[in-house]
């Protein structure tokens, strides 16, 4: 934009007005809410804050949130790699349909994403009777919550990798194979280094959503305190009990996660020269 001349520059008053308008809007909608989380969290002092996040139910919520992320993120990372590999390196019929289907979970309401698993595995669900007969609990337990989380975080890694791997093509892999590398060696030494930043980027976004997901997990969790409450659900419980200091204390942990995600994301964009993308 360094070639901008006077004729294509907005008048000074317009620039000031637009920048001011943007700043006011962002303050009102982004910065004030974010600041309020931390102010409310520490309103009753450090001791209350520390008690709220080390209390037993909060601890178990944190552990469950981390467990879900540990289950879901690697699965979706592997799927994302496989899907991107299939789409970028091979040609087959229905490729554009497959691309659209991968994006599907983003278009579906999180509540509906949770509901589908209740219809499948709930007491009145398709497999409900069978599961009960074999004493397997999926809904209102960790497996159901993991499934719902996998569903909503499904596209993140794949959609970062697909355009990149499509752009890179097959040439380097063919070169490696013709020089005698095995398929696995080619993947580790040629493909992976080429896509590592995009993969990392996708994993970070996937992780943030997995840890922060509310709607889908809320439907299948059953809200059993200390057992099936993730951190976002724990925030809701506390908030509805008018325990606002504790609710905001737990929310501040999630906010830090969000800020960390944002920081890493910006770093990768800068480091790898990636352009902006919509999650």
């Amino acid at each position: 934009m360094s070639v901008q001349t006077r004729s294509t520059q907005d008048p000074l008053w317009a620039r000031i007005l637009l920048i001011g308008g943007m700043f006011a809007f962002l303050c009102l909608f982004l910065f004030v809410p974010l600041a309020s989380v931390f102010v409310e969290a520490f309103r009753k002092g450090l001791a209350v804050y520390a008690a709220a996040i080390t209390e037993e139910n909060a601890r178990s919520a944190i552990v469950l949130t981390l467990t879900l992320a540990v289950i879901c993120v690697p699965l979706n990372a592997v799927f994302g790699l496989a899907a991107a590999w299939a789409i970028a390196k091979f040609s087959f019929k229905g490729k554009s349909l497959l691309l659209a289907l991968i994006d599907l979970p983003f278009a579906v309401s999180p509540v509906v994403s949770g509901l589908v698993y209740v219809l499948l595995f709930g007491a009145n669900g398709v497999f409900g009777a069978w599961l009960q007969a074999h004493d397997i609990q999926i809904i209102f337990a960790v497996p159901g919550m993991a499934l719902a989380t996998i569903f909503v975080t499904f596209p993140f890694v794949a959609r970062e990798l697909i355009p990149l791997m499509q752009a890179q093509g097959n040439d380097q892999e063919y070169a490696a194979l013709s020089l005698g590398a095995s398929g696995w060696q080619t993947f580790l030494r040629v493909t992976l280094p080429n896509i590592k930043w995009a993969l990392f980027y996708g994993i970070i976004l996937c992780n943030a959503r997995a840890m922060g997901e509310f709607g889908a997990v809320s439907v299948v969790s059953g809200h059993i305190r200390g057992e099936t409450n993730t951190l976002p659900l724990h925030v809701e419980v506390l908030y509805n009990e008018y325990n606002s200091a504790a609710a905001f204390a737990c929310a501040s942990i999630l906010s830090l996660l969000g800020l960390l995600t944002l920081g890493l994301k910006t770093f990768i964009e800068w480091r790898a020269g990636l352009r902006h993308r919509n999650p």
Binding site: P33, A82, S109, L115, V116, F154, E236
Partner: protein
């Protein structure tokens, strides 16, 4: 390849198809009966009306923000640019309680508005604010790459032919941004229609007044009204599919980005 299809099929397609199978089990009259109660209709009006309003607001402010971020250079630009993604990075429940805390009658902004009789939290304006919050990045991030690639020479040509800055914007720049703007706004709308986490806290959730469709689905589930919940979910899914098709069509037609 096989793994991809199996995973996609098992986790996503099969469960979603099941919703339609279950819903069709109700029959036409059952479906109509389930979705035509006054409570459901009120929730639909509220959800779609406010989502439309929110995405229009995002359309205006998203364009403004994208324009400022791409065209102007000022201190703190990089920081503001990064912060636009805050609604994506922030868990929706956190956004929900934060916005509620601020706009509640005793909150920072709510208490300022209270003397004028303006009620934001626990009323439709509160829902609108939450929907604007979560939809904003979609418009900005769809517009930014298009604005960045825009040929400044076209504006120079317009200016040298005697157009004012405003005329140049309206006649030269805006028409080329319009497709991306429509795509971004549709993305924001699609997200707003299904949004749950950030809205439940601020909405107040009064049946018929401030109850959104996703919440109604959950309420029906909790009352073991599986038929009603499934019928509503099928309706929401159909709308999601329609919006997804529209977005794909818009993107293919305008080549905004192959993968936004």
């Amino acid at each position: 390849m096989g793994f991809t299809l199996a995973y996609l099929g098992l986790i996503v397609l099969f469960p979603l198809l099941l919703v339609f199978v279950k819903a069709s089990g109700l029959g036409w009259s059952g479906l109509l009966h389930a979705v035509s109660t006054p409570r459901v209709l009120a929730a639909c009006r509220l959800t779609f009306g406010l989502s439309a309003l929110a995405c229009l607001l995002n359309c205006v402010f998203g364009l403004l923000i994208a324009w400022v971020l791409v065209r102007y250079r000022f201190p703190g630009r990089g920081f503001l640019d990064a912060s636009v993604d805050l609604p994506f990075a922030m868990p929706t429940a956190v956004a929900g309680i934060a916005l509620t805390g601020i706009y509640a009658p005793n909150g920072w902004i709510g208490s300022l508005l209270k003397p004028y009789g303006i009620k934001v939290a626990f009323a439709p304006p509160g829902i609108l604010i939450a929907l604007v919050f979560i939809g904003l990045p979609f418009v900005v991030r769809t517009l930014q790459p298009v604005l960045e690639d825009f040929e400044i020479a076209q504006e120079e040509a317009a200016a040298s032919l005697g157009a004012t800055r405003w005329q140049t914007f309206c006649r030269v720049v805006f028409p080329q941004l319009a497709p991306a703007l429509v795509t971004g706004t549709t993305l924001a709308f699609a997200r707003a229609v299904g949004e749950y986490g950030s809205v439940v806290f601020i909405a107040g959730n009064m049946p018929g007044k401030t109850e959104i469709v996703p919440l109604l689905i959950i309420t029906k589930l909790e009352q073991y009204d599986y038929a009603g919940a499934t019928a509503l979910a099928a309706l929401m899914l159909l709308i999601s599919f329609a919006l997804l098709l529209l977005i794909n069509f818009l993107q293919r037609k305008t080549l905004v980005r192959p993968n936004t």
